[in-house]
Every structure is written in C-alpha cells, then in structure tokens.
C-alpha cells in the first residue's frame, strides 16, 4: 500500500478566519474515503487546497512521496490528481462527446495537434464512446451539454474525471442536485471506478456515504475531528453532536 496523496499539517486562513486547521490525512491505493462535516466546515476549501486552486498558509501535500504543494493546477492533474465540481463545470457549448474527448486528448497529449479533425480520431472516439455507454449516455453523445438535464450533467462531470485516468479522484458532492431516482446511477458509476485508484468523496447524503465509503473523515470548523469506519462514525459521540444529530440516532439498531 503506497500513499497516493498525503496532507501534512495543512492550514489555511482568510484574514483572521481559520478555514482549515492542521489537517493531516493519507489516501492509499484503493481507498474509498468519504469526507463529511456540517455546512461551512471547510470541505470544499480542503478540496480546493488539494487541487491547488488555493495555496495553503502552512503545510504540504505529497503525491507518491513527491511534494506537490507548489505545483500549478494543470501540473497536479497531469500527475493524476483529478476532481469533479460541486456545481457542474462543463464546456457547456460543446457536445458531450467533445467534453469527454477533450479530457482524453489532453491526457494523451494530442491537443497540440493543429490539423486533424478532433472528436472523430479513432483512438479517442473508441474511448469516449465506451465511457458514455458505461454511463448510459451514449444517445446523448452529439448533444450540447447545455441542453441536458442536471442529473445527466452530473454524470458527464464524472465521465470527464474517468477519462483523465486519475490516480486520486476527488468527488465534490457528486449527487448534489440529482433527482432522487437518478442517484443510484451515480453510485453505480462510482462503484465501478477502477479499484486501484483512491477516491475521496464529499457528500451530504449519508445513505450514499454508507454505501460507498470504507473510511470516513469528519471535518468540523476546519479541523479533522474523527477518522474511522462508517459504523464507528455513527457510534462516536462527538461526531454525532457536531454533525450527524438525529440521523445517527435514527440509524442506531433498536
């Protein structure tokens, strides 16, 4: 088991506001970790710190033993650190196929080609059509992203993540805003992720967390207050107080 991603005493403050305080964690091969915490706990800030969108005030990040703290966003992506967004950020005016093809082509380093017609390159095409049929989106390949329903856009967000062949995948509330009957499809797609990559998922929907995670990190007021298996989390008194509230009581076997 090697450490794919490690955060070492990472802190971040905006002015006097400490949004992230002394966070330490490790993700290893095959990890399925959920990051939970109440609203405003700094979950998305933590993801932004990991991806390099904002720089930590203190502390370092490592990937496979190399420090990545000073690297730019694209450099981290090239090392296999990939995220999805809480609110979908897609190339809205391009087709679904183009969205995924761009990710594939970027991974294969062929977006510097100037004169071949892009989406229909055979090696690229084979890959995006496979990803799309896996997600049940094949019929939408040539539709513009703006024309699609929100749940479908969430799946495309995931598809782009997959197309980049990540080593570490950060999912920022992948099911947020997805109609309830479509949520299983998201979970299904997540469960089919390659087993050797590490996945860190931020999620509010505890059902999804329990179905997905083998390990849970709990963040409250910028600090990691708990780490353990899903069952330990619901049993822990402090976590219950900080976050789970009545939900934990509801789940307790009677």
């Amino acid at each position: 088991m090697s450490d794919l991603l490690e955060a070492r005493s990472v802190s971040r403050s905006f002015g006097g506001l400490h949004v992230t305080r002394d966070v330490n964690f490790k993700l290893t091969t095959g990890d399925r970790v959920a990051l939970i915490g109440p609203n405003g706990a700094g979950k998305t800030t933590l993801v932004n710190l990991i991806t390099g969108d904002i720089a930590p005030s203190e502390g370092q990040f490592f990937m496979g033993g190399d420090e990545i703290t000073g690297l730019s966003i694209p450099d981290r992506v090239r090392r296999g650190l990939v995220r999805t967004f809480q609110t979908t950020r897609l190339f809205a005016n391009l087709t679904v196929a183009d969205n995924i093809a761009l990710a594939i082509m970027q991974r294969k380093r062929i977006t510097r080609r100037f004169f071949s017609s892009s989406t229909e390159l055979p090696e690229v095409r084979a890959e995006w059509s496979e990803i799309l049929s896996h997600l049940g989106l094949d019929r939408l390949a040539y539709r513009k992203v703006v024309e699609l329903a929100y749940g479908q856009q969430r799946l495309i967000e995931l598809a782009i993540g997959l197309a980049l062949h990540p080593k570490v995948l950060l999912l920022d509330e992948p099911a947020a805003g997805v109609p309830h009957d479509e949520a299983p499809r998201i979970l299904e797609a997540i469960n089919r992720l390659p087993s050797d990559i590490a996945v860190l998922m931020i999620e509010h929907d505890m059902d999804l967390v329990f179905k997905f995670a083998k390990r849970v990190l709990v963040l409250a007021a910028g600090r990691l207050i708990f780490e353990g298996s899903p069952d330990q989390v619901t049993a822990d008194h402090e976590v219950r107080r900080a976050y789970l509230g009545s939900y934990a009581d509801a789940r307790r076997p009677t």
Binding site: P74, V77, R89, F91, A103, S116, S129, E130
Partner: protein, 333 residues
C-alpha cells in the same frame, strides 16, 4: 448497423474534406458573383477581402477563445506596413510579400497575445487598446520607415507567379486575394476543428474546467494569438499589395472597433459568421455611404441595434440552428 456493437454510438456521417470543399466552393461562387455582376467595383471587393482576413483573425481570438480586444488592427497594420516596406526596399514578388506580412503579423500576434492574454475581463480589454494605440503611435512617429501621417506609397509589386501583372481595374488583385482567402479559409476550417481549436473553445467556455483537465491556458492563448496574427498579417499584406498604399488607418482604433462590429454582426465563434459580417457590413457601408455620406454611420448603428436585439448571437446563428435541425431530421429518418 452491425459495426456499432462495440461502440454503441453511431458514427457521424463523414465525407472527408466535404466541409472544406463546400467552403471553398461557396467563397469561389461569391467571388464569381462579384466578378461578373460588379466588374467596376473590384477594387472595393478586394478591400473587402483584405478586411475579411482581419475579421477572421479577430474571430479566432474573440469568437473561439473569448479574448476581448479592441486593438486587433495592430496585427493587420504591422503586416501591411511590413509588406509595404519590403516592397519599397526591393522585394517585388507578391507571394514573397504575403510571406513577409504573414511573418510580421505572427510576431506581432505573439507579442500582443503574450501581453493581453495574461489578464481577463476589463484589464484585458484596456490592455488591448493600449497595444493598438502603441502600434498606431509608432506608425505615426517612425516616419523614416512608415511615411508617418502621409503613409507609405509607391508600393508596386511585381507580377503574380511572374505572369499576371496588377492592373488598374484590380482584376488581378481581386482574383489573387480571392485565391488566398480560399486557401486560408480552408486551412482555418481544419484548424478550428483540430484538437487545439476545440480546446480553445473549451477554454472560452470555462477556463477553470480546462485547467482541471490539465490544460495550461496561457501558452495556448498566446499560440492562438500568433495564428490570428498570421491571418491578419496576410490580410494586411494583401491590402498593401492591391491598393499600393498603407496609411495610418490600417492600424487605427476605428479599424479595430469596426471589425469587432462586423464580427458581432455576423456571429462570433463561426468562421462563416466572420465572413458574413464582413460582407454585409462592408457592402452596407459602401452603398449607404455613397447614398448618404453624412448619416451612414447612424444607419449602421441602427442596423447593429436591430441585430443585437433580434439575433444577439449574430446573423449566422439562425442559419446554424436551421442547418443543425435539418441534419438531425436527416439522420433520424
């Protein structure tokens, strides 16, 4: 339908080079109409083609990359001046002069791009104006090189391919310009559909998303600016060759603003939009300015307001939508 067992997604109907051939034919047909119906206006039509290069160039950075610029005439003007100066200093072959314009435009494009695309939004726009004004100022001040406010004159290029001399009816100039336009347009059609071009459109849509798939944005925009500079430089050189003069108007702020209007009119983000905008604006200006030299700009303003209200994405958008509908219907049957 047996070959889709693996991929599930049906292939697009793709005849290789069909789009490129269609593009070339349409431009040639339009050129033929101009040639036969308006033989007395060939000088004007040649100027129109020169400007079309600048609008296409602007489309590459504004329409395809989302860069706001009001200084794009700089690339055009530098190409024009470079070709004009080279011609006066003894380079007379028109194709060589085009190459000079292309190179000068590329260099200018790379320099402006390196400055302008560092920023976004308003700072970007202001910087683009500053770059444009800087070039205009230099063209005025370096009068030993550029002729200053008198402009460069006495540009007398040799025969095209050593055979076709330039005549006072602009016949050679027109055909030569049209030929260069067809070649450039076809190359650009390939270019904007390439992985590079597609990525630029992606960056325009959402640059954070582009970064998050591992794209370094800045170098790409600079390269795109270089390509745009090359296209504008060709246009400048063509104008210098066909008119025989290069004046300060070719680098002026008005020129930059005017081509932006043409692009919005036709529809940014489509090569055809750039072309349509140029043709409609220039012809409108030509006719209305002749009929009413004092109020023509008012009428242009009115036309623009109408278009922004009723076709905010340019005149080409309804055509594109119709075409897409037509194609979808065709494939559904």
């Amino acid at each position: 339908m047996s070959d889709i067992a693996v991929t599930h997604v049906p292939h697009k109907r793709n005849i290789p080079f069909a789009q490129e051939a269609a593009g070339a034919l349409v431009i040639l047909a339009l050129g033929a109409i101009g040639w036969f119906l308006y033989p007395d206006d060939l000088a004007f039509l040649t100027r129109l083609i020169g400007i079309a290069f600048l609008v296409l160039s602007l489309d590459l950075v504004t329409g395809y990359c989302g860069v706001a610029t009001l200084g794009h005439a700089a690339q055009f003007g530098v190409g024009a001046y470079a070709a004009g100066i080279a011609c006066i200093r003894g380079v007379s072959d028109p194709v060589a002069l085009l190459a000079v314009g292309l190179c000068a435009g590329t260099v200018m494009g790379l320099i402006s791009g390196a400055l302008i695309t560092r920023f976004r939004g308003l700072p970007q726009l202001v910087l683009s104006i500053a770059v444009g004004q800087l070039i205009a100022g230099l063209a005025n001040k370096l009068s030993w090189l550029t002729g200053g406010s008198d402009g460069l004159s006495g540009i007398e290029p040799g025969k095209v391919f050593g055979v076709f001399g330039f005549d006072m009816y602009s016949r050679t100039a027109f055909v030569f310009s049209l030929g260069v336009l067809v070649i450039t347009f076809v190359v650009l059609q390939r270019f904007v559909r390439s992985p590079f071009g597609l990525m630029c459109r992606g960056i325009k849509d959402d640059d954070l998303r582009a970064k998050m798939i591992g794209v370094s944005i800045y170098p790409r925009l600079v390269v795109m600016y270089g390509v745009a500079g090359a296209v504008a430089g060709i246009g400048g050189a063509l104008t210098a060759i066909s008119t025989g003069v290069v004046g300060l108007d070719s680098v002026s702020f008005e020129r930059s603003a005017e081509v932006l209007v043409m692009l919005v009119l036709g529809g940014a983000g489509h090569l055809w939009g750039a072309l349509a905008g140029t043709v409609i604006f220039m012809i409108f200006e030509h006719i209305v300015a002749a009929a009413n030299p004092f109020h023509w700009m008012t009428l242009v303003g009115l036309l623009l307001i109408l278009i922004v209200v009723f076709a905010p994405r340019g005149l080409i958008e309804p055509v594109v939508l119709l075409w897409a509908k037509f194609k979808r219907k065709g494939s559904a049957v």
